[in-house]
């Protein structure tokens, strides 16, 4: 826009009209810009309210919980958390869950990396069908596989071990990892591979030294997803374990006893299951936006 002063009256009027219009538009824009913020805040309130309520209850004693509705803890207490951290079945539940989730993440990413590379770089007989078959596993309801899994792991002597749950979760986590990684790998230009091979890199060396560092953020996001789906799954995890590898999810069912439900402990245990998730999402927060599109935008 030119900054020169207007010289004729008509030009002055025109300029004034333009300025006026702009001022009006700005005046309207303020509430217009506030409203999205307000809507977003409403949604966040909807998201956080149930979680707040859980936290609220975890800091109250059971008598206070059942005594009446209080919007915040009147007698702030940590008794439920103390109980969880001092009772072995409780804290071992968390240890067990984290153990099998970690095992599953390691196994899944190790076998998914080469497979995803193959899918992103090569055509081979049956590639499309293999990929589809993998996706159907992602969609298979765990309930379908419940019984045979129980039988299978019982027969091979893995029942009630962490590795059993880790292997079972591979059913949906490996396909998921391949799906996400394939998207990221496809966005790496093929010329990089070719140049490296011309420079005399062997395939394993190229893969570990050059390729993996290039898709680091993709691997981070994949690990986040692997964590997420293994951490939240409960049906398989609780069916394949009894006491030694019992996940926290099935320990929580023991809060309902003959004398009613121990609401405070249930709430505290629930709050503690959210914490690892927050930690993990905090680490990948900068990549997650890209990762959720699975490299397919």
């Amino acid at each position: 826009m030119s900054q020169s002063k207007p010289t004729t009256p008509s030009e002055v009027r025109q300029r004034a009209a333009v300025e006026d219009k702009r001022r009006r538009r700005k005046a309207r824009a303020v509430p217009g810009r506030l409203r999205p913020k307000l809507l977003l805040c409403l949604y966040l309130l909807f998201v956080l309210l149930p979680i707040y309520w859980l936290m609220n209850m975890s800091f109250q004693s059971n008598t206070e919980i059942l005594g009446g509705l209080t919007l915040w803890p009147d007698n702030f207490t940590l008794e439920h958390y103390t109980k969880i951290f001092t009772t072995e079945t409780w804290y071992m539940g968390y240890v067990n869950s984290i153990t099998y989730v970690a095992m599953n993440m390691v196994i899944s990413i190790l076998v998914a990396l080469p497979a995803a590379y193959a899918f992103s770089r090569y055509h081979f007989i049956g590639d499309k069908h293999l990929f589809f078959w993998l996706l159907t596993n992602l969609m298979a309801p765990p309930a379908v596989f419940l019984l045979p899994y129980f039988q299978l792991y019982y027969t091979v002597g893995l029942f009630d071990t962490h590795i059993a749950v880790a292997l079972a979760h591979c059913l949906f986590n490996i396909p998921l990892a391949i799906w996400i990684l394939e998207g990221f790998m496809s966005s790496v230009p093929k010329e990089i591979d070719e140049t490296a091979f011309i420079d005399g890199y062997s395939f394993p060396r190229f893969f570990v030294r050059i390729f993996i560092p290039m898709i680091r953020s993709g691997i981070g996001v994949t690990l986040f997803f692997l964590f997420m789906f293994s951490w939240v799954e409960l049906l398989l995890a609780s069916t394949l374990t009894s006491t030694n590898a019992q996940p926290i999810a099935s320990v929580m069912t023991s809060t309902s006893t003959a004398s009613g439900i121990d609401w405070g402990t249930l709430a505290a245990a629930g709050v503690l299951t959210i914490v690892p998730g927050i930690l993990v999402v905090y680490f990948v927060r900068n990549h997650i936006a890209k990762g959720f599109a699975l490299g397919r935008t």
Partner: protein, 292 residues
């Protein structure tokens, strides 16, 4: 990308194939074997042929569970997809606010499914839950253990709470990949907000939306833990979905044969739907490459 035709790529696939086959094919074969027999234990079993399939296909309880399942999946999709797009459009794009909102929105996805059930169980109880208590104070006789309408509504709200973030994040990442130049061009053309959405943002979103709808359909189709904890399938069987009927039959009643037959029918439905979606995604990508 131009892919090279090379069957040696199978070598890279093999480790994965061995693991997934162990977790998928062997159990699937076992399910098929169960479905044609009446199994008491490995040595005491009788061949029944197609009897279980006939029984399962004509079981009114399962048919209504299937209908309920479709109704539920469609309802949550109809709510979550537009809501998720809306949230994604509202989310801030830069700065600490973006990170903070991102983490808060993601939060429900990272909570174990049965804990989600517990959270809502606590939240909706009439005596100790904020929502249950609040609705009663407002004069609505809210009771999820008695009223099927309340139970349904609560489960749908819970699912919206739990899974809208997935759609929102998918769309958010889709929106982030739109170059700023597009918006500038739209501003120069004085395009309306709606036109920007319709002609710039929505086309970019279709790809991620198909993935989102696919994932949401699948997960809502196998929903188990949340309603199980929240309502236990009740009142009556008004919120008993497929997974729960199946699990009750398989674990609760130990009816291996019928539950295996039911599993296979369930699996075939999933297979058909996911194939349709997959073909749609693949054809869309092909069109895109062909058109570009």
């Amino acid at each position: 990308m131009n892919k090279v035709y090379d069957n040696k790529a199978w070598l890279l696939i093999l480790p994965m194939l061995a693991l997934v086959a162990f977790s998928a094919i062997i159990p699937l074969m076992t399910v098929v074997n169960y479905s044609v027999q009446d199994v008491f234990d490995a040595n005491t079993r009788f061949f029944t042929g197609t009897e279980w399939f006939v029984q399962m296909l004509n079981d009114p309880a399962l048919q209504s569970a299937l209908l309920r399942q479709f109704a539920f999946s469609l309802t949550v999709l109809c709510i979550e997809v537009p809501l998720g797009i809306g949230i994604a459009l509202l989310m801030p794009k830069k700065g600490w606010q973006a990170s903070a909102v991102l983490i808060l929105v993601t939060l429900p996805l990272l909570i174990p499914w049965n804990v989600v059930g517990s959270i809502w169980q606590i939240f909706t109880r009439g005596d100790i839950g904020l929502m249950g208590w609040g609705l009663r104070e407002l004069g609505y006789e809210y009771n999820i253990t008695r009223s099927a309408v309340d139970a349904w509504g609560t489960i749908i709200i819970m699912d919206v709470w739990h899974w809208t973030p997935l759609i929102a994040l998918l769309c958010y990442s889709g929106l982030r990949s739109i170059p700023e130049a597009y918006y500038q061009a739209a501003r120069i053309d004085r395009a309306s907000r709606w036109a920007v959405f319709r002609f710039i943002q929505l086309p970019k979103l279709t790809n991620v939306l198909v993935i989102g709808v696919l994932l949401r359909f699948m997960h809502s189709f196998m929903i188990y833990a949340e309603p199980f904890v929240l309502t236990g399938g009740g009142p009556g069987s008004s919120t008993t979905f497929l997974s729960q009927s199946l699990t009750t039959m398989a674990i609760g009643q130990q009816d291996l044969g019928p539950s295996a037959a039911f599993s296979l029918i369930y699996f075939l439905i999933i297979l058909l739907v996911s194939w349709v979606f997959y073909t749609a995604i693949m054809n869309m990508q092909k069109d895109k490459e062909g058109g570009a």
